[in-house]
């Protein structure tokens, strides 16, 4: 159970890059542990990660609900906040998709920042070129590929490759993995019955795997899946992928689920 080669020793593929962390409003407010995990992980890989304090929200809830105009100032603020980084990294598939797919259409000047924006697993695999990040997580985990990760960003097997390289981790397949969990932002309350039915089916699939933890690249989906699991009395923990990748033998105990 030795730490991987990337763990703070020889491999520091991120050295010299100016990386701005877009933590997202959901993570900032509800899941700071995910943000801390991204910082821990990126710093371990030699990345000088910065957190511009004027960042707030990418405007996804507003835009997806039809309030493009309310999203506009947020898009402008976001582009300003991240204007001077080589890369913007975010631990959210749906926020990355919102920025890349929609920001330039809302505020054309935001295109350069949008183009430099990467979801965490894209940044690790495509930019840093690593799949073994030196993590240790001795648990059985199932992976739910979120809709934006799967169909908007086309993350493909990047998250799985990262998970496969985690020491101690047993990855179990989630039946019906590609099906939406039913969160969908404001859909979760506007169409609560359908959302809950989808969530219940997803939770049942998760529980059926026998995994200790369910992991995604998006805490908003995890909030829905985890909230449903919790209501059903299931002990399965929702964990953001970043927290698994940040965990090492030394910090293993600190990475017990997506929380503060």
């Amino acid at each position: 159970m030795a730490d991987g080669p990337a763990a703070g020793r020889a491999a520091r593929p991120g050295a010299g890059l100016r990386v701005g962390l877009f933590v997202t409003c959901v993570n900032d407010t509800l899941y700071p542990g995910t943000g801390r995990a991204v910082v821990t992980l990126l710093e371990r890989l030699g990345v000088a990660v910065d957190f511009p304090m004027e960042q707030s929200c990418c405007g996804q809830p507003q835009f997806n609900t039809g309030y493009r105009r309310a999203a506009e100032p947020l898009v402008r603020r976001h582009a300003r906040a991240f204007a001077e980084y080589d890369y913007v990294v975010t631990p959210s598939g749906s926020c990355a998709a919102m920025i890349r797919d929609n920001h330039p259409g809302i505020v054309p000047d935001s295109a350069p920042v949008a183009e430099r924006t990467y979801e965490l697993t894209e940044f690790l695999v495509d930019v840093l070129g690593v799949t073994d990040v030196g993590a240790y997580y001795p648990h059985t985990v199932t992976y739910h590929p979120t809709c934006h990760g799967l169909r908007a960003l086309r993350l493909g097997d990047r998250p799985r490759r990262l998970l496969a390289a985690v020491r101690g981790l047993t990855l179990v397949e989630l039946p019906g993995a590609e099906e939406c969990c039913g969160f969908g932002g404001t859909f979760a309350v506007k169409n609560a019955a359908v959302s809950a039915a989808m969530g219940a089916d997803k939770a049942a699939a998760v529980m059926g795997t026998g995994a200790e933890a369910v992991c995604t690249v998006d805490n908003s989906c995890l909030m829905h899946i985890g909230g449903t699991l919790s209501r059903l009395g299931s002990p399965v923990r929702p964990v953001h992928l970043a927290e698994i990748l940040a965990a090492t033998a030394a910090t293993g105990a600190a990475a017990e689920g997506s929380s503060g």
Partner: protein, 515 residues
């Protein structure tokens, strides 16, 4: 559109009810998943699927861009081949034309080929009012008609029914419409099909008028195309003396060669077949062969208005394959009736609000009948970006704006019932525009987190969440406070905007008291 769906509640209410119907859920789950998997296999067989898909989208887009030209070309070709073309601006006009044509033959009944356009116009009800009985001959449409029901799927209108229910409908209702079901009918598919065959055969042999739609119309020759699986279409298109086809104006393609693309895309996407069993094509009339009278009713009914919308017009590419319904997790749970339209599922959620507008509570709720999961866009054989159009229509619902109604640019007001949401979105936008304020709120929440109910019913819209889901525990410290506390003294890059938000005196004080 169809009068039969009038007065239905908004999608969330209808869906809440149908989602709770265990038998419906089971029927739909079984049926959609079976077709879904078969489609995936059929599509995977073609190495050039993505290129076919792009070609299909391109041909449709180009045709739509020059729709006036191709429709006039089609009209000329149909007329030269002995057919008569009628133009219907809306559903009422289409129904009036068809009713008049049937009455003129002296007949009081007609057989029907499965047709979405006539479902859309509510033709059967209009004919009934004029004393004309229309017999549906597609098996699933027959089940719906006998059951005094509404279709719930584009391809499989009776998808919400299982074998046992179909047997009961046949036993109880067939006799009232013609030849009764055989004695001792069971729910074996072969027996059910045979009962329908016997019942329908009587209609085919007697009918002198047929009404159809069409999957494609070829402008260069005036040829109409119907693809089907059961052969009932072929019967209707060849046996009667008069054939009336009601077709949406977006169904035109320029040339026969274009069919090469669509006759590959459609069957694999809809029934997961390499090729559908029956492809019927006819061009006007031919002496001594098939109908002597052919009428084509070209239906607009909101299509030109949709065409005027740069984002929404891609919905007019639709070839009605229903692949998007079969992969949609919302459709699978809510069922087709909740969409209150002949067009259910993801395509219905973008087509209906464009054809009917977004003024009724039901139509305004349809763009929200989606989690934006994108599965529909992935399977669409003509690459309609359904999530994009959904979001576009949501904006129309909540913000109003310029739309085209019956050819005239009109400003519409935001739909009712969104005032509180609009205020909340603006407030959230304002808070997120002032990160210091946001931070104060986060801290306040953090301090009060022990009071936070994870399970108690939340007030207002929060109850919609808390009825089935717990809330995550609130953290002790938002991320930005942790960053400020552990790394806040770092030198920030130069020239960043809004420096006032970074490290005011308030933040300095806060750092002092953090653990």
């Amino acid at each position: 559109m169809s009068g039969t769906f009038l007065g239905m509640p908004a999608f969330p209410r209808a869906a809440a009810e149908s989602t709770g119907d265990a038998r419906l859920r089971a029927n739909l789950r079984h049926a959609t998943r079976t077709i879904r998997d078969k489609r995936a296999r059929a599509v995977a067989e073609l190495p050039d699927w993505q290129r076919l898909r792009a070609a299909g989208a391109a041909v449709k887009d180009r045709t739509l861009r020059h729709l006036d030209h191709y429709l006039e070309q089609l009209e000329r070709a149909v007329t030269e081949a002995g057919g008569t073309v009628h133009w219907a601006a809306d559903a009422a006009e289409a129904n009036r034309i068809v009713t008049g044509l049937v009455l003129a033959t002296g007949e009081r009944e007609a057989v029907k080929v499965k047709s979405m356009a006539t479902q859309e116009t509510g033709l059967n009800a209009a004919l009934e009012k004029a004393g004309i009985r229309a017999y549906e001959t597609d098996l699933a449409e027959l089940i719906v008609q006998l059951g005094d029901d509404l279709p719930s799927h584009i391809l499989v209108p009776a998808i919400h029914r299982n074998r046992g229910e179909i047997r009961d409908i046949f036993r109880e209702r067939m006799g009232q419409w013609g030849r009764p079901a055989p004695d001792g009918l069971t729910d074996r598919p072969a027996e059910l099909a045979e009962a329908a065959r016997l019942h329908l055969r009587e209609k085919f042999l007697r009918a002198r008028v047929a009404i159809s739609g069409a999957n494609f119309m070829v402008a260069e020759t005036g040829t109409l195309v119907v693809v089907e699986s059961e052969g009932n279409g072929r019967m209707c298109l060849t046996l009667p003396e008069t054939l009336i086809s009601v077709v949406g104006i977006e169904k035109v393609v320029p040339t026969w060669q274009d069919l090469e693309i669509f006759l590959q895309l459609l069957p694999r996407s809809s029934t997961a077949e390499r090729m559908n069993p029956y492809t019927s094509m006819w061009t006007g009339t031919t002496d001594g062969d098939g109908p002597r009278d052919f009428h084509l009713v070209l239906l607009d009914n909101g299509r030109t208005d949709a065409l005027a919308d740069a984002v929404g017009r891609q919905a007019l590419r639709c070839i009605r394959c229903s692949a998007c319904l079969n992969v949609c997790p919302v459709y699978e749970r809510a069922g087709g009736h909740a969409y209150g339209s002949a067009y259910p599922g993801p395509i219905g959620a973008i087509l209906t609000p464009q054809l009917r507008g977004v003024t009724s509570p039901l139509d305004a709720s349809l763009p929200y009948a989606s989690s934006l999961c994108g599965a529909c866009y992935d399977v669409c054989p003509v690459a309609i970006n359904i999530p994009e159009v959904l979001v576009h229509l949501r904006e129309r619902v909540v913000e109003g704006g310029e739309v085209t109604v019956r050819g005239t640019r009109t400003r519409i007001r935001p739909a009712r019932g969104h005032a509180a949401e609009r205020a909340a979105m603006r407030a959230a936008g304002w808070a997120f525009g002032h990160p210091r304020l946001l931070r104060a709120g986060q801290r306040l929440a953090g301090r009060a987190r022990r009071l936070q109910p994870r399970r108690l019913p939340l007030p207002g819209p929060g109850r919609a969440w808390s009825a089935t889901r717990d809330l995550p525990p609130l953290p002790a410290e938002p991320f930005r406070d942790w960053w400020q506390r552990t790394r806040g003294d770092r030198q920030a890059p130069e020239g960043r905007a809004d420096r006032a938000d970074r490290a005011g005196p308030e933040e300095e004080r806060e750092r002092g008291e953090s653990p």
